[in-house]
């Protein structure tokens, strides 16, 4: 481990703010990329299941 | 006259028009159309003039400061004037059905597209070229840079028209496509802007500017050979939409 203690690790030698903000943004972008398609998929599914049920009732 | 058609149609070979003549017809039609609408003809140069006069008022009338600013201001104003005039390139034809007729002509479409862009440049790009020295005077551009300014605009504005025509072809089917057109095309204008202003800045500092001008000529030939195909493809896609 390059850093002596956890406190050193978080401080990153007075660059902590920049490094951790970058990794924070990276995590946000990654989560958005995962969440967006799944949420859209859920919305499509609900809409088509409702449509299927409506068609089933009509017959 | 009626007797001419009584031979069965499929046997009578119509007097074929050479592709050059057909393209000439499109060019003359567009030029005649442009000159018939004097009101629209004055817009690009007027816009160019007004935008350039804003800068001394907005920033500072001090001549040395303006001299440093002049190349960028003139080039950006020319770029925006061309972009504004781009929307009218295909819009008129699309609305009254003339675009569909253009898409089914026997000659290759890219020739007609090149003729239309050339006519459009003559109506909107050339006035900017003629007006540029006067504006350079207003912005106290050093006198040794005038020739380079005109040369860079002469090479740059046709290239701006060609690139803008690609965006116009793609957005002609969209109702308020004008704003979208600038978003699509501005990134493609950046190299032209950099080379154009670079040439004029170098000339105003007395340095040789033929490197930038040669690169502008390279991009212009690239545009002249490749852009018409992209424009033709864009028009075909819009028509089949």
């Amino acid at each position: 481990m390059y850093f002596e203690s956890w406190a050193d690790f978080w401080a990153m030698g007075k660059h902590g703010l920049y490094v951790w903000s970058c990794y924070g943004i990276a995590v946000v972008v990654m989560i958005y990329n995962i969440w967006a398609p799944l949420a859209q998929q859920k919305r499509f599914k609900q809409r088509y299941l409702r449509q299927l049920r409506r068609e089933a009732q009509q017959q | 006259m009626v007797s001419e058609i009584n031979a069965p149609a499929s046997t009578v070979k119509p007097m074929l028009v050479s592709p050059g003549a057909a393209v000439w017809v499109t060019l003359c039609r567009d030029l005649r159309l442009g000159f018939r609408r004097q009101a629209e003809l004055i817009n690009p140069p007027l816009f160019f003039l007004i935008v350039v006069t804003l800068f001394p008022l907005g920033i500072s009338p001090d001549p040395d400061f303006l001299a440093k600013l002049a190349p960028g201001v003139i080039w950006i104003a020319a770029l925006l004037a061309t972009l504004l005039a781009m929307d009218s390139l295909f819009r008129g034809d699309y609305e009254d059905g003339a675009l569909d007729l253009l898409l089914v002509v026997p000659q290759p479409l890219f020739m007609h597209v090149l003729a239309k862009v050339c006519a459009h440049w003559l109506l909107t790009g050339l006035p900017l070229l003629i007006l540029a020295p006067m504006l350079a005077l207003m912005l106290s551009l050093p006198s040794q840079a005038y020739m380079t300014l005109i040369a860079s605009l002469a090479l740059g504005t046709p290239l701006l028209s060609l690139l803008g025509a690609i965006g116009a072809a793609l957005t002609v089917g969209i109702r308020r496509g004008g704003m979208l057109l600038s978003l699509l095309i501005l990134p493609l204008y950046i190299p032209v802007l950099l080379l154009g202003t670079g040439a004029v800045v170098a000339a105003s500092e007395g340095l040789p500017a033929d490197g930038q001008l040669l690169w502008l000529a390279v991009l212009l030939t690239l545009g002249l050979t490749l852009a018409p195909f992209a424009i033709a493809a864009g028009l075909r896609i819009t028509a089949s939409g």
Binding site: - | P8, T11, A21, D100
Partner: protein, 210 residues
């Protein structure tokens, strides 16, 4: 009666909606094909496909025995397309409009254009800018092409709209005369065409629908 155009198993889909499928017909020279169908049933789409304006279809179209994609320039040289909006430029005069409308296909004499304009009774309007003409008159300027055109195939989309009564008679007489001389015509119209039915062939889009 040589076979001019043969279309088989044409399928067209528009915005996820199936307009028609399995549409087949052959058009011989000297025949008039009248395409009928309700509004929005795909008549215009069919005509745009036949005019090679769009390639968004499945199926085969053969022009004189050859797949259309291979003989596109020759096919387009032989075709006259008149769409919904006539493509007439307001600021230009009828003569200038006709000169470029037909200028892509043939070189025209001044006299020929004037005769065509008198044939659609636009005599005296030759050099009046088209925006001062009525919609019906503007359509008649586009129809004047029919008196000039040498093309062997006419594709006319609703040619009778905004045309007054005797204009319709003139046009029907012209269509019959041209068909008798070997020209093939495809048109869409709602009203009953009174043309000697030796030439007429009807095609209803509805029976190829969903």
């Amino acid at each position: 009666m040589t076979e001019f155009l043969s279309v088989n198993q044409l399928v067209c889909e528009r915005d996820e909606r199936l307009l028609f499928h399995g549409l087949s017909f052959t058009l011989n020279s000297g025949e008039i094909l009248q395409v009928t169908g309700a509004n929005g049933s795909g008549k215009t789409s069919l005509l745009r496909i036949l005019a090679t304006l769009t390639e968004d279809y499945e199926g085969e179209i053969k022009f004189a025995g050859e797949l259309i994609q291979r003989v596109l320039p020759e096919y387009r040289q032989q075709q006259l397309y008149l769409g919904h909006s006539p493509g007439i430029k307001g600021p230009l005069t009828p003569i200038e409009n006709l000169r470029w409308l037909q200028g892509w296909y043939q070189s025209l004499s001044e006299q020929a254009i004037e005769n065509a304009l008198t044939a659609v009774d636009l005599y005296g309007y030759e050099d009046v800018p088209c925006y001062s003409l009525s919609a019906g008159q503007q359509r008649r300027v586009a129809l004047a092409q029919l008196y000039l055109s040498h093309q062997a195939l006419w594709i006319l989309d609703e040619p009778f709209t905004a045309i007054d009564q005797n204009g319709v008679h003139h046009l029907e007489a012209l269509l019959a005369e041209q068909a008798s001389q070997g020209r093939s015509i495809i048109l869409t119209t709602h009203h009953q065409l009174n043309v000697p039915d030796g030439f007429i062939k009807k095609l209803d889009i509805a029976d190829y629908g969903e």
